[in-house]
């Protein structure tokens, strides 16, 4: 080591704004003035406690074969800077006393000072470089550019212990903590002077001092091309979301579901481990990558197409109880009044505009719930909300709803003053997210909602805009897991006036159900899981075009139909049920759910995709279906038992929801989802959440009806029922 230079004199250039940036204190803060005062108070103390020292030296032979950045390099400058230990002790003492703000400020001032010392060293380093006729090619720091162990080399070469009393910990960390060391690689090009830390290569994405170039990304999707920018090294899914582009991310960005794939058109996204696991080789070759695992390093053009954009949304609802107003009265009106009815599903949304007097639907539109980018089920939405995404989720649903409302108003050319009210049916979580409530308590025992009653507010309060002036009503729920969508369904099926006992089942992830009549209703939510919606099924998919939705065994072969008659792309919920039912009938699946030996390993092949991949149903898929159908069936059995009725005493079985709408009743009975005795009782009611919202919006007495339902309904806890396990095991079999 030669030319060892020690620098003791540094200018006191601590900038308040830099310190404040380090601790996230901004002018808009209510306590800004207070922080300024405290800053002034501690600043002098910190300055008096500083023991600044800088040392550097030239190392002629520092080639390290194992360190990529130092291979073949001969000359380097090692640099170390410290401010001693006293400031740290001061900060710690303040923390111990409970004066956290001062403690944090002291620490931040120390950091700002330490960074400013780098500048103070520059001139001396420049002189040494000139003497050796060398420039600086780059700067290396542990642990990102060089391993932590290299700090030992710096420590030894610069004799930090002897010169500055700096120790090295077992973890190769300098003591005092406020010490930094780095390596400057010398170049024969004298003009080079790259002495600054290269933020672009540093993985500390959230560093407050990050100075890095922005990267341009062009995104191509159904709506055309969008130019967006991000910082180098940022996560692509985060960047897309921030720019309001929402790829599918059922697992909420954990690299598990494989749905957030984007196609790189130009530029490069390095292949990640998750890509190799979740994508097919053909897809990888075509440039597909998972956005959630991708780090943007260079300008890109990516195609982000949403398979979900073609989701089949159920907008049909049962219309048996239309308003029977005198026709003449309606016709005499010059301008009609309208109401808007909305169903917010976890996956899809439906917005309808309805004549108030007749209940006639003039127009309806539907869309995918873009919150899906934060996970497919309510649990992942609750998690996202708890992780600070509540505002984003609220904004998304507000935008989606407004778009739908705008579409139906414009299509019907309806003047805004004529809209009397907006009625919304949705589950409790969707309601909480729309209202901006905390979802903390929804996900943990005892699952208490913030508000489960009827929610009324102005359009501005609930949808955040002043375009309409009418009232917005969210239908009340019964509990956190039996929400307003189910109450809407019960209203649509007129449980409040019914004499005979009926069963209502919404076949979805939460499998909500209710049993009863006007005097007593009991209800429950079953943990059916996402299998009926194609989740957790190898080739499972939502109700998208190309999904196999029907399966029949005919003339010795398994025949299928797809949605939209498109080439097969996967299996949607009904497709899975039908295939399982046919396999059970053909005895290719035995009573316990075991697949015939020939298919046990690879799964049962049903179709081939355009790319020549075989769409199969695996043993694991069958197990998922067994779990899901048994969860529903167990729920039904426990409700019947608790209510004290037999199958025969149930007059009607109302089947609600998109999955129920397309379900083949016989096949559902074949797999044991429903008992044989229900065969002629099942009535499909479609989107009864929407139907109930319409009914509520067009009937004065509906408010009372809903209140009545709320009064007679109560939730039953299935899992604590003494027969739960027995039922659950019993109905697992086919």
């Amino acid at each position: 080591m030669s030319d060892i230079t020690i620098v003791k004199q540094f200018e006191n250039v601590i900038k308040q704004e830099e310190v404040f940036k380090l601790i996230d204190c901004y002018k808009e803060s209510d306590i800004y003035e207070e922080v300024v005062e405290e800053y002034e108070e501690v600043k002098q103390n910190v300055l008096s406690l500083l023991e600044p020292y800088g040392v550097f030296g030239v190392e002629k032979t520092c080639e390290e074969r194992d360190i990529e950045a130092l291979q073949g390099k001969k000359e380097c400058i090692y640099v170390a800077l410290t401010i001693g230990n006293k400031v740290t002790q001061y900060s710690n003492a303040l923390f111990k006393e409970g004066d956290y703000l001062k403690g944090m400020l002291v620490d931040a001032i120390a950091d700002a000072y330490l960074f400013s010392m780098e500048k103070g060293m520059e001139e001396s380093i420049r002189q040494v470089c000139a003497k050796h006729k060398r420039g600086i090619e780059k700067r290396l720091e542990a642990p990102h550019d060089i391993p932590m162990t290299f700090q030992k080399k710096i420590w030894e070469s610069l004799q930090l212990k002897e010169r500055l009393n700096i120790d090295l910990s077992d973890g190769y960390m300098f003591n005092p903590v406020k010490t930094i060391g780095y390596v400057l690689v010398l170049s024969e090009d004298e003009k080079l002077f790259e002495i600054q830390h290269d933020c672009s290569k540093c993985p500390s994405i959230n560093c407050k001092n990050r100075r890095i170039p922005t990267v341009q990304i062009e995104v191509l999707n159904e709506e055309g091309s969008h130019k967006i920018s991000c910082k180098k090294g940022e996560n692509l899914l985060e960047v897309l979301r921030r720019n309001k582009i929402f790829p599918n991310a059922i697992c909420s960005g954990k690299g598990v579901c494989g749905k957030c794939k984007v196609r790189v058109v130009s530029g490069e996204l390095p292949l990640t481990e998750a890509d190799s696991k979740k994508l097919m080789e053909s897809e990888i070759n075509q440039g597909y990558r998972l956005a959630c695992m991708a780090q943007v390093q260079q300008p890109l053009t990516v195609e982000v197409l949403r398979a979900d954009a073609h989701f089949e949304v159920l907008t049909h609802y049962e219309e048996e109880n239309k308003v029977a107003l005198e026709q003449s009265e309606v016709d005499n009106r010059i301008e009609k009044d309208y109401i808007i009815a909305i169903d917010i599903g976890t996956t899809t949304l439906a917005v309808g505009i309805v004549e108030e007097a007749t209940g006639k639907m003039t127009d309806i539109t539907s869309a995918v719930n873009r919150q899906r980018a934060y996970g497919a089920d309510v649990i992942s939405r609750i998690q996202a909300s708890n992780e600070g995404k509540g505002k984003v989720l609220q904004e998304l649903i507000r935008q989606d709803l407004w778009q739908g409302i705008e579409v139906v108003i414009k299509k019907g050319n309806i003047s805004k003053e004529r809209i009397k009210r907006v009625v919304i049916g949705c589950n409790t979580t969707m309601g909480h997210l729309l209202m901006g409530y905390s979802c903390e308590t929804l996900g943990v025992f005892p699952f208490t909602p913030v508000n489960i009653g009827t929610i009324r507010g102005s359009f501005k309060e609930i949808l955040g805009r002043e375009d309409l002036e009418c009232e917005v009503i969210l239908l009340p729920g019964i509990s956190t897991y039996v929400g307003g969508d189910i109450v809407a369904g019960l209203l649509a099926c007129h449980f409040e006036t019914r004499q005979e006992v009926a069963l209502f089942v919404d076949l979805g992830t939460n499998g909500e159900m209710a049993l009863g009549n006007k005097d007593k209703i009991i209800c429950a939510a079953t943990a059916a899981g996402p299998a009926f919606e194609g989740g957790n099924i190898l080739w499972g998919t939502g109700s998208i075009e190309g999904a196999i939705s029907r399966v029949h065994f005919k003339e010795g072969t398994m025949q299928y139909e797809t949605i939209g008659q498109k080439p097969p792309a996967g299996l949607c919920g009904t497709g899975v049920i039908e295939l399982v039912a046919e396999l059970v009938k053909q005895e290719l699946i035995d009573e316990t759910g075991l697949l015939e030996e020939d298919y046990f390993e690879e799964g049962y092949p049903i179709a081939t995709t355009l790319d020549g991949e075989s769409i199969v149903l695996t043993q694991k898929d069958i197990r998922e279906i067994q779990l899901a159908k048994s969860a529903i069936r167990t729920g039904i059995e426990i409700l019947l038992e608790s209510y004290g009725v037999t199958y025969d005493q149930v007059e009607t079985v109302y089947l609600a929801g998109g999955f129920g709408f397309n379900l083949d009743k016989d096949k559902a009975i074949t797999i044991g989802l429903f008992p044989e005795a229900f065969k002629n009782k099942i009535k499909i009611v479609g989107n009864s959440s929407l139907g109930g919202a319409i009914y509520y919006g067009t009937h004065k007495e509906a408010e009372e009806n809903v209140e009545h339902i709320g009064k007679v309904a109560e939730e039953v806890n299935l899992s604590t029922n003494k027969n739960f396990n027995e039922f659950y095991m019993e109905h697992m079999i086919f």
Binding site: Y26, I31, N92, M104, D170, E440
Partner: protein, 214 residues
């Protein structure tokens, strides 16, 4: 009880002096000190933590709120001892062997106190033995370890292994955190929880300890 709501509000604004005055007033009015702690101070801290997570407020706001909490607790403490109030749980917090980083650990200590736990801060560069002997000594429920370097992360494993050897692993909830630590690392070394920041750490610790103690 309006005064408790007021304490919570003032705490969220970081008004340490006003919090002190109101806590004293609440005591003078004969309100149960436990109630003042839970419904005034701790509930205020919970709200500010939530706001921090939602990006409604930033670090400085949390710092002044925690300071106000501390000031309130100082008034309350003698009374709490008198009525025999027990904290919801006890935690040992330290940065592992070979690692000297303190600021992140200090923030964790602050938030854990704000969640109503009794905290024993055992500093930085802590030997595995010291984590365990301190935990045993104070009859802790949780051991929280911090590491900021890939080179010091393995020390977390050493602590867990030592717990296993002594047959003490099941006695404690083990939580880990720090920049290079991840969920999968936590799983790999057999820790119970990984949390990405001090606020989440406090939340998880509270839940975990309530579940444990029942």
């Amino acid at each position: 009880m309006e005064i408790l709501g007021e304490i919570s509000e003032l705490l969220q604004k970081g008004r340490a002096k006003n919090v002190k005055v109101l806590v004293q007033q609440a005591l003078d009015e004969g309100i149960d000190p436990k109630k003042i702690l839970n419904e005034g101070l701790l509930s205020g801290m919970m709200i500010i933590g939530e706001k921090f997570k939602n990006n409604d407020v930033f670090v400085p706001e949390v710092l002044v709120a925690a300071r106000a909490m501390n000031a309130g607790v100082a008034i309350l403490e003698p009374k709490l001892i008198e009525v025999g109030n027990k904290p919801i749980g006890k935690a040992i917090v330290g940065t592992v062997k070979g690692d000297l980083h303190d600021i992140g650990k200090n923030l964790v200590v602050m938030m854990l106190k704000g969640a109503g736990l009794e905290i024993h801060d055992i500093g930085v560069d802590v030997e595995a033995e010291d984590f365990i002997s301190k935990a045993e000594e104070v009859e802790a429920d949780i051991i929280c370890m911090s590491a900021l370097l890939t080179t010091t992360m393995p020390s977390m494993k050493t602590v867990i292994e030592a717990l296993n050897e002594k047959g003490l692993r099941d006695k404690y909830i083990v939580m880990v955190g720090g920049a290079p630590v991840s969920e999968s690392f936590a799983e790999q070394i057999g820790a119970d929880y990984y949390t990405p920041d001090a606020t989440t750490c406090a939340e998880v610790a509270k839940k975990a300890v309530i579940e444990k103690v029942g």
